[in-house]
């Protein structure tokens, strides 16, 4: 089976660090949100871990932003200007039908084109709306003790709390779908392996097209 080098070492470290942090943030967040039902570790420990990991997540996301800007890889997150809708329909059709028939993926992947059109839409929402909202609301909730004027005069804590909660639920839903979609490669584990080794097994007999013109 032919292989392509898809993920650099930095990308892999970044991804797994972010994944670990997000999962622990979800678990500690659940402990904080449902202390009387899901108290695995103590409340104080959960809060401390949650706060610390949140800063690690922010730092990791910031470094990733710089990396993607510096390497120009940020472009792969931007939807194509032409024919994007038809690409979306193509990708959706693949997931709805082609995948069951054993059809190849409609778009070829390489280092500069790792995302299919549906992933682009999803990450556009996550990176531009969900993550910033989650980071900002969490940061302000934590910062309320240092800058109480902000939460008292501008954004009430109750609103921040609700934004952060719904954001957490959406992240959890995303993680479910994200993990499942890693099984849609040539073999169920090939995408996971790719994210571990950097090398992805390319599909045999590919009738593929470039995802970008």
């Amino acid at each position: 089976m032919p292989r392509i080098y898809l993920y650099t070492l930095y990308e892999r470290i970044w991804h797994w660090l972010q994944a670990t942090v997000i999962i622990i943030l979800i678990l500690t967040g659940m402990s904080i949100h449902f202390p009387d039902k899901l108290q695995i570790i103590g409340f104080v420990t959960a809060v401390r871990i949650h706060n610390t990991l949140a800063f690690i997540l922010i730092a990791n996301a910031f470094l990733a932003l710089i990396y993607h800007l510096a390497t120009g890889l940020f472009k792969q997150f931007i939807p194509e200007r032409r024919n994007f809708l038809s690409m979306v329909i193509q990708q959706t059709a693949y997931y709805m039908g082609g995948i069951f028939k054993g059809d190849p993926h409609p778009f070829k992947r390489d280092q500069e084109h790792k995302l299919n059109p549906l992933q682009k839409i999803t990450y556009l929402g996550i990176l531009n709306i969900l993550l910033p909202l989650q980071v900002a609301s969490g940061f302000l909730m934590w910062g309320a003790q240092y800058w109480p004027e902000i939460t008292n005069d501008f954004v009430p804590l109750v609103i921040l709390g609700k934004i952060h909660t719904i954001g957490a639920w959406l992240f959890m839903a995303f993680v479910c779908g994200h993990v499942y979609l890693t099984t849609t490669g040539p073999t169920p584990l090939s995408y996971i392996k790719a994210m571990l080794t950097g090398w992805e097994e390319a599909e045999e007999n590919p009738e593929t097209r470039e995802s970008t013109p």
Binding site: G42, Q145, P148, P156, V158, A173
Partner: protein, 671 residues
């Protein structure tokens, strides 16, 4: 060891000296500045103390003295007060706990004249102010009763219910009573006896009953020459006020070795309304029948245990020893004001305006709000709460008292119901924190958890403070409305010393023709209507029931770290301490939902809920936009939507993945 003996003697001598008063011997003078031994008259504090102290300055700089006399206005003119309140202080602000209404000058009917106010409420008033000066600023002793119904010269005869002229020249007035606060053992019961008897000018003299200088005889008070030297000079152990002096009017204060005895008494106001007890004694050492007593090894109040006196925080605002770092009513610049008074000036003219906080129920002398030593004046909470993961936020959102007064171990009033009268002609009163009658020493005192209400701190941030809420119901009538006078209530409820037959017929549930305590409740429309008819029968026009809630903030009964609220789950859980309801009433008289008193600084934005047993409880608001309590403030619908999103994602995974697996296996079979 032998070498230490001299030191021991020095220590004993120093201890003995410290118990003695440093006040010089003094001559007790009467109003005409004549020695009381010569005149035989009552002591005049102004003449006696005025030999060295500026008593005029003192009486004019004391909200304990003025008691609201300087904040009076016609009924309906005070912002945020009831329609019938005529002052912000005890002299003129109606209190549902004591019920009687000081009659305004403009009122056609007399309820409480000034002399009756002194007789009834003088037990908690230090004298001077309205007990000495009329509302127009004239000495009361110069007032002559005319034919007009003037509340300053008339009182209501409790037997006939008719106004009577008051003889101020005969009774005298009540001077500010220095002895009450500056003697270690003032005889308050004798003072109150004189006040109730209307012998006002003798009240201060009676306060000296335990000094050996004066004794009661059949003809009145007689000075005892044995207590004076040959020059007519006496020694009195005059000193600065201790907590016990404040406790005479404010709360149960106990410093003795003997076990603390609890008794309920409205004169010990903070104990009655908030269950506050100021004592260094361990709670387990009291005589009370307390639930879990053996485990209560903390003192009633940690500050009392550390021997702090009330005046350490509530000091005279010009006391140079205390006010040095508290710039009351002074600009922020310069940071050090070297022009403050020296001790000599202070002793001559000590302000008797005491530094105060801004409690939810004490409403006079607003200008002094926040002038007292607050917790943060002595404690640096940020240094002692470093264990807390979100310390600053908590210190801002919670007053120290919220965690350090977790529970009150003495009963406090919860409900006062004047819509019915007990056989003694008083309101039916319910207490919280006690099982059974509060009058019975055998009743089990269970204690109670104060409700947390938001109030503005001195720095203007909202913080949660512990409170009690007392709900009161009473009849009002007329336009503008006034509480129905106690005299008419009694007329409606009683006939020849027993309950009126109509009242018995309406309220007697078990048919034994005797009204038990539990039957004294207007908990059905029929009972309410029956009492209303009785009131109308005695001439009350359109009587109706009103209900109100008054929050009382709690700042004493402070416990130290081991007993304070400190487990995260106490607040960060569904059953959070923050949202714990407070039972307001065992029943709702007339079905009338009580309204929060307007003039209070506590935020009562929670909700009232009827309990299944017909009672009423107050549940603090959990949706305050400035407060979001992790683990408690969960939105059910938001969590529902989130859960649905996850279930949706999982369902998609299961269906899609299942189909893929199924097709994969089918293909494999075909191959």
């Amino acid at each position: 060891m032998i070498r230490l003996w001299p030191l021991t003697f020095v220590f004993i001598a120093a201890t003995a000296l410290s118990q003695q008063s440093e006040h010089p011997a003094l001559m007790l003078l009467d109003k005409n500045e004549e020695n009381v031994l010569t005149s035989g008259g009552p002591v005049s504090l102004y003449a006696t103390c005025g030999q060295c102290h500026d008593t005029d300055y003192i009486t004019h700089n004391s909200y304990h003295v003025s008691a609201g006399l300087d904040e009076m206005a016609p009924p309906g003119h005070l912002s945020g007060e009831r329609a019938w309140d005529i002052s912000s202080g005890p002299f003129g602000r109606w209190d549902p706990l004591t019920y009687r209404l000081l009659t305004a000058k403009s009122e056609a009917e007399l309820d409480l004249g000034t002399a009756d106010w002194i007789r009834l409420f003088g037990s908690r008033h230090v004298g001077g102010g309205p007990a000495e000066i009329s509302r127009e600023g004239k000495p009361l002793e110069e007032l002559q009763a005319g034919d007009d119904l003037d509340p300053e010269t008339h009182v209501l005869n409790p037997n006939t219910g008719l106004p009577e002229k008051w003889d101020w020249q005969g009774s005298g007035s009540v001077e500010m009573n220095c002895f009450l606060c500056h003697l270690p053992n003032p005889d308050n019961s004798e003072r109150i006896r004189e006040l109730k008897a209307g012998r006002f000018r003798w009240a201060a003299t009676a306060t000296l009953a335990r000094t050996g200088l004066v004794k009661r005889s059949e003809s009145g008070w007689e000075w005892d020459r044995e207590g004076f030297d040959e020059d007519g000079v006496c020694e009195l152990p005059i000193r600065d006020p201790k907590s016990g002096n404040c406790g005479i009017c404010h709360a149960l204060v106990h410093y003795g070795q003997e076990p603390l005895d609890y008794k309920h008494d409205l004169d010990m106001r903070a104990t009655e309304t908030e269950g506050q007890v100021y004592s260094p004694q361990r709670i387990s050492g009291s005589n009370m029948n307390l639930a879990g007593k053996d485990t209560l090894s903390c003192p009633w109040d940690i500050h009392a245990e550390r021997l702090y006196q009330c005046t350490n925080c509530h000091y005279s605002v010009n006391n140079p020893a205390f006010s040095a770092d508290k710039q009351v009513n002074k600009p922020g610049y310069p940071s050090f004001d070297s022009s403050r008074e020296n001790t000599g000036d202070y002793l001559e003219r000590p302000s008797h305006n005491f530094a105060k906080g801004s409690s939810a129920s004490i409403l006079l002398a607003d200008s002094l709000d926040g002038s007292m030593r607050l917790c943060e004046s002595c404690h640096d909470a940020e240094k002692t709460h470093t264990w807390h993961p979100n310390m600053k936020r908590h210190l801002r959102a919670l007053a120290c008292e919220a965690c350090h007064i977790p529970r009150i171990h003495a009963p406090a009033r919860s409900q006062v119901d004047w819509t019915v009268l007990t056989p003694e002609g008083q309101a039916r009163i319910e207490y919280r924190g006690v099982k059974g009658s509060v009058d019975e020493t055998s009743s089990l005192v269970t204690g109670w958890q104060p409700v947390l209400l938001a109030r503005e701190k001195a720095d203007r941030w909202l913080s949660l403070y512990p409170h009690n809420i007392i709900s009161s119901w009473y009849w009002v009538a007329g336009d503008p409305e006034r509480p129905v006078r106690l005299q008419e209530l009694k007329l409606a409820f009683f006939l020849e010393g027993a309950y009126h037959p109509d009242i018995v017929s309406a309220l007697d549930e078990n048919g034994d023709r005797v009204l038990s305590r539990s039957e004294l409740a207007l908990d059905t429309p029929e009972k309410t209507e029956a009492v209303k008819k009785r009131l109308e029968a005695v001439g009350i026009h359109a009587p109706r029931i009103k209900g109100e809630m008054q929050p009382y903030s709690i700042h004493h009964n402070v416990v130290s770290f081991p007993w304070a609220t400190r487990r995260c789950k106490d607040c960060h859980s569904r059953e959070s301490r923050i949202s714990q309801p407070l039972r307001l009433a065992a029943y709702v008289p007339g079905g009338v939902v009580p309204e929060t008193i307007v003039r209070t600084n506590a935020r009562m934005n929670g909700e009232l809920r009827k309990t299944p047993d017909g009672g009423l409880e107050y549940r603090p608001a959990s949706g305050d936009p400035q407060v979001y309590i992790l683990g408690h403030d969960r939105s059910v619908w938001l969590d529902g939507i989130g859960l649905l999103a996850i279930l949706g994602a999982l369902a998609g995974v299961v269906v899609h993945g299942g189909l893929r697996l199924y097709i994969y296996r089918q293909r494999k079979k075909v191959k």
